[in-house]
Amino acid sequence: MPRRARWPGREHRLAIETMQEHSIIGRPVPKKDAWLKATGEAKYADDHSLPGMLYGKLLRSPHPHARILHIDTSKAERLPGVRAVATGKDFPGIKYGNLPQTRDYLPLALEKVRYIGDEVAAVAAIDEDMAEEALDLIQVEYEILPAVFDPEEAMQPGAPQLHDHAPDNISSQSAFHFGDADRGFADSDLIQEDIFETQPVKQGMLEPHACIGLWDNTGKITLWASKQSPYVVWRQLAMGLGIEPGKIRLVQTYIGGGFSGGKQEAMPMDFCAVLLSKKSGRPVKFVHTMDEVLTIGHLRHPIKIWLKTGIKKDGTLLAQHCKIIANGGAYSSIGQLSMYIPGAMLNLPYRLPNVKYEAYRIYTNNGFCGAMRGHTLPQICFARDSQLDIIAAKLGVDPIEIRLKNAAQPGEVTPNGFRLTTFGFTECLQRVVEASQWREKHGKLPRYRGIGIGCGSLVSGARLMGHSSSTAEIKVQEDGTVLLVTGSTDVGQGADTVLSMIAAEVLGVQLDDVRFAMVDTDITPVDPGTFSSRVTFWTGNAVKLAAEDARRQLAEIAAQKLEANPEDLIFRDRQVYLRQQPQRGLSFGELVRLAEYRLGRIIMGKGSYTSGEELIDFRTGYGNMSPAYTPSACVVEVEVDPETGQVTVTGIWGAHDCGFPLNPMLVRGQVLGASVMCIGQALYENLIRTQGKVMNPSFRDYKMPLATDVPKLANVEHINIITRDPSGPFGAKEAGEGAATGVIAAVANAVYHATGVRIKSLPISPGKVLFGLKEMQGKGNKPANLVKG
């Protein structure tokens, strides 16, 4: 690892300290399941099959908005090889969803379809070709309704209405005002107003949605599926089927990427797999094509952001007023939370006394939007940190200085009640400036090369309105191995490894001694799921408590055997011994056998964690959402081709306060991966929709970054700022999403620095850059990097 050699003094010292203090935690060990994945043995949902299994396919609406008058499935049912057909009428008609006020999904459409791709009917047949053929035989009579695709048009009186419960197509809204924004603006020396726009972007996980459903003749339902939040699916499945969750068993498979692309919720395919199984008496498998995955939904919200900022001459931020309108698409998903977050975290990582915020998520006849890595923060950070550079230029202040001046500090409480415990933002800025050689480059690079900074912040797990706590169970076995059971999933981010490391550290066993269970709702404890960068913090704390519980039980037994105090015992390297007399002890396995064989004890540890914060109403927004927050700063260097307008990212340097990196190699992978995803959004990713029709539903046309699009290894660095959060497990905070929140703004600012062209709408496409360059030439302006100051 070339990076390791470059750890500067402080981190190097910390690494040494860590090795002395911990035997497992803090080491860059490989992911536990990497060996299975490297040999092709890891089984993802589509890799499973069951005897007698049928294959399902979904019929989707070809219209953006239409009333379903009649569905005739008789021809499809008569096709040889077809075993069952379902329509919306086969379900109880109960709408399901995340929050009580935004439940608007149905397993299959009943009266109306609301976007091109809405699920109308489903077929199970002996193979996929047969199922596809049967779809063509289903006759649906539609009454086509006027459709609306633009959110601002959809808000107008007289616009087509998507849902009866939502006048003016308002799917959800948030509004709050903390401090006194009017006063803040009145006291400001400079007021800056801008409009920014972001585009629809897809998660782009490579594994399409897949599941196998079985409804047995006792009424018990089993769903094997690729789900990042299996318990959410479990509850939603029960809700939409109108049955008790206890009748359902959900078994998680290996997950080929999540990013909240739909694997966090129940989908029509899940409902149809189990229902068609009930009808046919056979297991039914569904696998989406990539065309379906890219068409249906769970996009990152495209948002129009109006942002007004008031600032003093010396660069002190006084007030911000932000209005956003998000194109929510046809259904709600987690949209209410999506609207709360940009306002709640509008200021972070900066200090801002006065904030006013209004957000509208609007239903339109498009594929629906939800969360995606960083949720709605990359969009709002793009706007805010772009504007901060506009302001800095007007005030003649260095972009770094304005950020340092306003950097929020540990111990502060934001106007909306977020309590910052640890918050190493100032250090993030200082370190990223050094690493990127900002001072040598800013204003000094040759023409068409530029450098820019962007910053952001994230939660370490958001408290939601419903279930937030995490639990873990640990069973110690007679050979000294440990069975770790949680309700959390590994989507590739390394939860299997980091949670096992925590258990191994506490119990003094090796990482390989810990077996990490995948979610099976019949066996594992309930958990909200994998989202909002919560697993390391919340489940990690639960695992630590469970391991401590098991260790306490073992320590009592060992203490009796060794005639010592339990508190004087050390658990390390598969041994249990006295702190002062390391020669007095016994092996961990011996201790477990003593407990089980001689004393008849079963060593099982339990732990649960909840942050104990008040619930927040996402519509009004006061309260502490998360037990800890992470700040980050990112510097990007770009090269712009003046002939084509093409932007190439040539360097990226990031610093992020993750509290303490439990596994620095995995942290680095998370941070860099998330950063590249945001480079994609900054420069080219764009799900193009014309009259509700997705024009590029394939990886050929939906452009994601390739290996040739990322900077050279020598120009990539990630720095962990270590603050050891007192409430995180071993001091850890979030490390999967936060570091990337500032990347888009950094790219936009770098492009401005390289060209003088300020682009406020994403993606920063070659066309926009060229247009900007032409416009500047017309005005006789020079690129910003040639302008002093």
Partner: protein
């Protein structure tokens, strides 16, 4: 009735005699007839690289390759790469040890493509590696740790000379 063709495939050194419809892709036959699910089904149009296998040591997208075309050719899938369960290929080890595997869905295809590439170019530059894997999407890693893993495996394989690989 479907028209079935007799096809003899040699996969990971093992012979298989199959009766398959002529339009079945190699990916379908590997996954469904032979239960070799290491090659993944994702975009199904040759864009993502997750279905990559080696045919006569060259990487191909098995989703775009008819099984009948593979008659009499040597097919290597990820399941056949390791010499044994204990002795993994240096690329498999490097990917696992260097953080190149997150969700793992792209991993089998990338490892096989890298194997074919390193046979042609045992001492590649970073840029040559980037170009070699440009047909493979990875949404988790941002590619950096993958490039590092291939560089490390190349160094190891060059050090060990001819005794490594197939």
């Amino acid at each position: 009735m479907k028209h079935l063709l007799p096809v003899s495939l040699r996969v990971n050194g093992e012979p298989y005699d199959l009766l398959i419809p002529p339009w079945r892709t190699l990916l379908e036959v590997l996954r469904e007839n032979l239960s070799l699910t290491g090659a993944k089904r994702s975009c199904q149009e040759g864009q993502c690289g997750t279905c990559t296998v080696l045919i006569d040591r060259k990487p191909i997208n098995s989703c775009l390759y008819l099984a009948v075309e593979a008659q009499d050719k040597e097919i290597l899938t990820i399941e056949g790469l390791a010499r044994s369960a204990e002795v993994l290929h240096p690329l498999q080890r490097a990917f696992a040890e260097r953080g190149a595997i997150q969700c793992g869905f792209c991993t089998p295809g990338l490892i096989l493509a890298a194997k074919a590439f390193l046979e042609e170019n045992p001492n590649p530059s970073e840029d040559e590696i980037r170009r070699a894997v440009v047909g493979h999407l990875c949404r988790c890693t941002g590619y950096f740790q993958i490039i590092e893993a291939i560089l490390a495996a190349a160094r190891e394989m060059a050090g060990k000379g001819a005794q490594v690989g197939h």
